[in-house]
Amino acid sequence: MSVQETIFTSELAARFDKLVTIYPLRRSALVPMLLYAQDEKGYLSDEVITEIAQRIGITELDTRNVISYYSLLRTQPAGRYHVQVCTNISCMLRGANEIFDHCKKTLGIGNKQTTPDGMFSLEEVECIGACSWGPAAQVNYDYYENLTPEELDKVLEKCRASVVQEGKGSQA
């Protein structure tokens, strides 16, 4: 099934065209496509779901049904930097709850909330596979390990700084 007018960048559209052909069943491409679409668009909007359902050849309802199962997939925007703090057992034993608490205070938001400027969102997550290097967090896909509140502040500062940097770049 070809899509005449895509809402994605031409790179991603080309990637999707290929992705649906590499599996014995077209539908196998669904979950990766949803995740890559989310990476580009920030979240799975109605338009994203419509196009992906069409590309795979399934209903939108079926697509939403799959989305609701996977914890990384979201149908609402998150912050530019999505801070995911693991509080599962290994991280908890090394102070993850304090790290999460520190995030709440520093960012002034609660679990699954976004700062008013859209810069940060915060989520308490389950094990991210950093148990021996806990407490750990992911900001978008990047791992930060052996965290202390001070280290975490540095990470957040880095995020803010890179936005400022990008802003300067676009002015130049």
């Binding site: 069943l25 199962y69 057992i89 290994s90 908890m92 034993l93 148990c131 021996s132 390990e145």
Partner: protein, 435 residues
């Protein structure tokens, strides 16, 4: 980047290329890479399977099923295509070993997949990575591309006249997908709901074809077994538990980390010598020996060899090799609650005993930990958990029930100390809010 630690007792077999730049194909080839695949092509499927059986290698995902035996269950003749599926959905709390393999030695996973494919005469393999491991997906995608470019994958691999393709695949966040049948559902683009068995995947698996599903560590071990020979490999471990494995030490130890140690290595020694013991002069309180779903062990129970049989004999499981160490400051009720919160969050809801059981356990433990518990709750928690055992399609129900039962059985007094509005006797700084 996840750091590596070492200790004189470490046996670097699976980890021999870690930290040596082996994600680059040329470097992998310099370090004896792809020799086992060539040998496997020369010797044929029966030899491969007999070597795997003789090696004593058992599944590193947690169940410990003999790998060679698993491969031998795949029918020789099949109308439908056969597949190899590598499980890199590592999500069991306490487990962070597959990450290191993909990061440092992605070609060993590719080579192991090719060998598994040759053993069962499959033409296609899939490497499934959890969605959170995006940086590893890039590494494995690059490695696969390089292997295609060299002619190690695709048509006529190694000039043998045989074809083999590998597709890497990302999940999107789901613990349950680490279970084999849910993994297949997920790869087919669906919710990761488990399938009833029989039929087993070896007969009816991915896309309805016979499928071998192995943990990433198991698959990465395969080339090493053929490289050093099954007898040598078996000798490294203990009886009926061949080789080495990556143990992930976490929690209250001086030197947490992932250590490759022989199967059967003493748990007490692992904690006190390899990982340097408990920090701050505190006493050991408990050990979760193989990921969060394995029953907790008391300090008096840890003088055991870490292999599937010895840990089972001690009343727990070797599981995924995630050793979580707890010192005396830990409130076991809080620890039990955090464990059950995880399973409640991850239950897919397909099987009622798991869906309802984890939910009620969470509710009861939450109330209990906040001081609202009464005496009969303790037996109720145990009763709820016992009624989940063996009543679900996939082992998630058991994984939630088994540790809960052990917490009550071994730390009943701590539960009693929380009764009738008494505040938790342990210090708390912040509460987990996950719901």
């Amino acid at each position: 980047m996840a750091n590596l630690v070492s200790h004189p007792d470490v046996v670097p077999l699976l980890s021999m290329r870690f930290g040596k730049g082996a994600s680059a194909l040329d470097r992998y080839l310099e370090l004896e890479g792809y020799q086992s695949a060539r040998k496997a092509l020369e010797m044929g499927p029966e030899w491969i399977i007999s070597e795997m059986k003789a090696s004593g290698l058992r599944g590193r995902g947690g169940a410990g099923f003999p790998t060679g035996m698993k491969w031998s269950f795949v029918p020789k003749q099949s109308e439908k295509p056969k597949y190899v599926l590598v499980n890199g959905d590592e999500s069991e709390p306490g487990t962070c070993k597959d990450r290191l393999i993909f990061e440092h030695d992605p070609h060993s996973v590719i080579e192991g997949t090719i060998i598994a494919g040759l053993a069962i005469s499959a033409k296609m393999g899939f490497i499934y990575l959890r969605g959170e491991y995006r940086y590893l997906l890039k590494i494995i995608e690059r490695a696969i591309e390089d292997a295609y470019a060299k002619g190690f994958l695709g048509k006529n691999i190694f000039g043998s006249g045989r074809d083999f393709d590998i597709v890497s695949h990302t999940g999107a966040g789901a613990y349950e997908v680490g279970e084999e049948s849910a993994l297949m559902e997920s790869l087919e683009g669906k919710r990761g709901i488990p399938r009833i068995r029989p039929p087993f995947p070896a007969v009816v698996g991915l896309y309805g074809g016979p499928t071998v599903i192995n943990n990433a560590e198991t698959i990465a071990t395969v080339p090493h077994v053929l490289r050093i020979g099954s007898a040598e490999y078996a000798k490294l471990g203990s009886e009926r538990n061949g080789g080495t494995r990556l143990f992930c030490l976490s929690g209250h130890v001086q030197r947490p980390g992932v250590y490759e140690l022989p199967m059967g290595y003493n748990l007490k020694k692992m904690i006190y010598e390899v990982a340097g013991g408990i920090p701050g002069g505190k006493q050991l309180k408990a050990v979760v020996p193989g990921g969060s779903s394995t029953p907790v062990l008391l300090p008096s129970e840890i003088d055991i060899g870490m292999d599937f049989d010895q840990v089972a004999k001690a009343g727990s499981m070797l599981g995924s090799g995630g050793v979580v160490v707890l010192d005396e400051s830990v409130c076991m009720v809080e620890f039990a609650l955090r464990t059950i919160k995880f399973y409640q969050h991850e239950s897919c809801g397909w099987c009622i005993p798991c869906r309802e059981g984890t939910d009620w356990l969470k509710k009861t433990l939450t109330r209990f930990h906040s001081g609202g518990g009464v005496n009969k709750d303790i037996d109720n928690i145990k009763y709820l958990a016992e009624n989940m055992l063996g009543k679900t399609f996939c082992p998630l129900g058991d994984a939630a029930a088994m540790p809960t039962i052990a917490f009550i059985k071994k730390f009943r007094k701590e539960f009693e100390d929380h009764l009738d509005g008494k505040p938790c006797p342990y210090a708390h700084t912040a509460e987990s809010v996950l719901v």
